[in-house]
């Protein structure tokens, strides 16, 4: 019994020691390096590249997800088979492998040659010329990967809509596509927006994998800078701060979008319309009112309605 206690105390000591070392960073962490590079040109460019990459890939990936939904319901067995293989492959292999793979294929993008000659990024004011073919390859890899995951999110969103909706649309003379466009998809969007927001959060961070092929993203720039004056820990901190800023910023935007799109199935008339500071803190405004400003939290079950 004594021996066991002894063992755990030793273990605890080692763990505490480890964390103390990390926190004090062995007395070798240089915060001034962090501050002076936080807004370095290359870092800012890296942030911009990261954002562009994330937005483009998420958008294309979402479109792919939607296309896969319809492909899965196709009459052609080949198409249905293809969807199964696609999803299996892109969810079954690591994103990093997919990025490396597509990057190898990048020179094969003969179309990209004239684009590379254009030196787009230099023209746009970037301090270095980012290889367009690598950029495109990365974007494609991210999009294809995301598409596989979005397929399930889209499917779940659309299936969440009661089949009676499409039946009502059809009974009024709408075709399947018209019913989808006007009735089902708008409602499905409300269900899809929250997981889509989470996917984008993930995407912002996944772009960091692209550093291995040098497309000038945030992590890549941070590493390059770190190598140049041998301050890895400090520059990783810069990268971490920026990623945190991006994901936090997105979190706020996401909350706003979800409010507008009414992602939580509340009757629009009952939506909490108080100013944001009141909503967040629960404090009453000058006019008083309850914790929700006098607005009921749940939609009332109206008389005469069987649930």
């Amino acid at each position: 019994m004594n021996a066991i206690i002894q063992f755990f105390l030793t273990l605890l000591h080692a763990i505490v020691q480890f964390f103390v070392t990390i926190v004090t960073l062995n007395g070798q962490f240089d915060w001034s390096r962090v501050v002076e590079n936080l807004f370095a040109r290359i870092i800012i460019e890296g942030v911009i590249i990261t954002i562009i990459l994330a937005v483009l890939s998420q958008f294309i990936g979402s479109v792919i997800g939607l296309l896969l939904y319809f492909a899965r319901r196709s009459d052609l067995a080949i198409l249905r088979r293809f969807v199964g293989l696609y999803v299996w492959f892109f969810r079954g292999t690591p994103l990093l492998v997919q990025i490396l793979f597509l990057n190898e294929l990048a020179p094969a993008l003969h179309l990209a040659q004239p684009l590379i000659q254009l030196h787009i990024f230099l023209k746009l004011g970037f301090s270095q010329d980012i290889p367009v073919d690598a950029f495109i390859a990365t974007c494609i890899a991210l999009s294809l990967n995301e598409g596989a995951y979005m397929a399930e999110i889209v499917r779940a969103g659309i299936d969440a809509i009661d089949t009676g909706q499409m039946e009502a649309a059809k009974s009024l003379g709408m075709t399947y596509w018209l019913g989808m466009r006007r009735i089902v998809l708008p409602q499905a969007l409300r269900v899809i927006v929250p997981p889509l927001g989470n996917e984008f959060n993930s995407m912002l961070k996944s772009t960091s994998l692209a550093y291995v092929i040098g497309v000038g993203d945030l992590l890549g720039s941070s590493k390059a800078l770190a190598s140049s004056f041998f301050a890895f820990l400090e520059l990783y901190t810069v990268a971490a701060i920026w990623y945190l800023a991006l994901t936090t910023g997105w979190g706020l935007i996401q909350a706003q979008i979800e409010r507008r799109v009414n992602a939580s199935n509340i009757d629009p008339a009952l939506l909490d319309k108080r100013p944001w500071w009141q909503r967040m803190t629960g404090l009453r405004g000058p006019t008083g009112g309850g914790p929700t400003g006098g607005v009921p939290i749940e939609a009332p079950v109206l008389e005469g309605e069987r649930r």
């Binding site: 009676g164 059809k170 009024l172 709408m174 018209l178 005469g304």
Partner: protein, 265 residues
């Protein structure tokens, strides 16, 4: 009233002509040879125990369910299929089916209103999208229809704010917006609390009096007795008995009909 409508009924093609309809769900045969007609202007009420196939048959009329055997005509047109020159039956195009459906109105048990639109927008949606009616025209017509069902005050309300009876009346207005020649009612009052059933039946009755051809699946025997031109009793996928309401309710000839009515009335 029934006699007035009977004499007003136009002779010629029946509005609904069902010939030996069979329908199975996997290996379960739900419709085992339904043959019936509905004349223009007629109100036919279908009653029967659950599982009898009456709702399935109703949904076959506007091809929400595909039939396995038999032919179903609405106003002379084969529904869901077309007869090829060499006499075979092929599935019809989606466009054609949609066109036929646009002339048949359906009211569902669970209303199926579009929750992301107001009552007015619900009623306007189909005429604008399907018939390409100009917006102001569609809006004027929609308001008129909402007034007809007694809900013009609720034009800007979302379905979530309406009671069940109100939602169903909006649903009826929405179906009427397409100017249908036939209205199908699938247990339109079954999901309503008793005190709200009356307001919906009132609208249905008004429609009947205006000469609309209606096929109504319901458990409301009072409605059947007073409004129907003909009552059809279905059980186990077949039509067991049909006739005038007085005859079916007061003097049912088949034993299954008697058993069912004894349980209900």
């Amino acid at each position: 009233m029934n006699e007035d409508r009977a004499s007003a009924a136009i002779n010629g093609l029946p509005m609904v002509d069902a010939r030996d309809i069979h329908k199975s769900f996997h290996h379960n045969e739900v419709l085992r040879g339904i043959t019936m007609q509905v004349r223009k202007g007629e109100v036919v009420v279908m009653i029967g125990p659950s599982g009898s196939g009456k709702t399935t048959f109703l949904r076959c009329i506007n091809h929400l369910e595909k039939i396995n055997k038999g032919k179903l005509y609405v106003d002379g047109e084969l529904v869901g299929y077309r007869e090829t020159p060499d006499g075979k039956i092929a599935e019809d195009t989606e466009k054609n089916i949609a066109r036929i459906r646009a002339e048949i109105g359906m009211v569902f048990q669970r209303f199926n209103l579009f929750p992301h639109m107001t009552a007015l927008e619900n009623v306007m949606e189909a005429p604008i999208q399907v018939k390409r009616t100009p917006k102001d025209q569609a809006e004027a017509r929609a308001r008129g229809l909402l007034r007809k069902v007694g809900l013009e005050q609720k034009a800007d309300a979302y379905p979530a704010r309406l009671s069940g009876g109100q939602q169903q009346r909006v649903a009826i207005a929405r179906a009427l917006a397409m100017d249908p020649k036939l209205m199908l009612f699938d247990e339109a009052t079954s999901a309503l609390d008793p005190e709200l059933v009356g307001e919906v039946l009132k609208v249905m009755r008004q429609l009947a009096e205006e000469g609309m051809t209606m096929v109504v699946v319901t458990h409301e025997m009072g409605f059947a007795r007073e409004v129907a031109d003909r009552v059809i009793f279905m059980d186990g996928g077949v039509i067991v008995e049909e006739g005038q309401p007085e005859q079916v309710f007061s003097a049912p000839q088949q034993e299954r009909t008697q058993t069912f009515l004894r349980m209900i009335l």
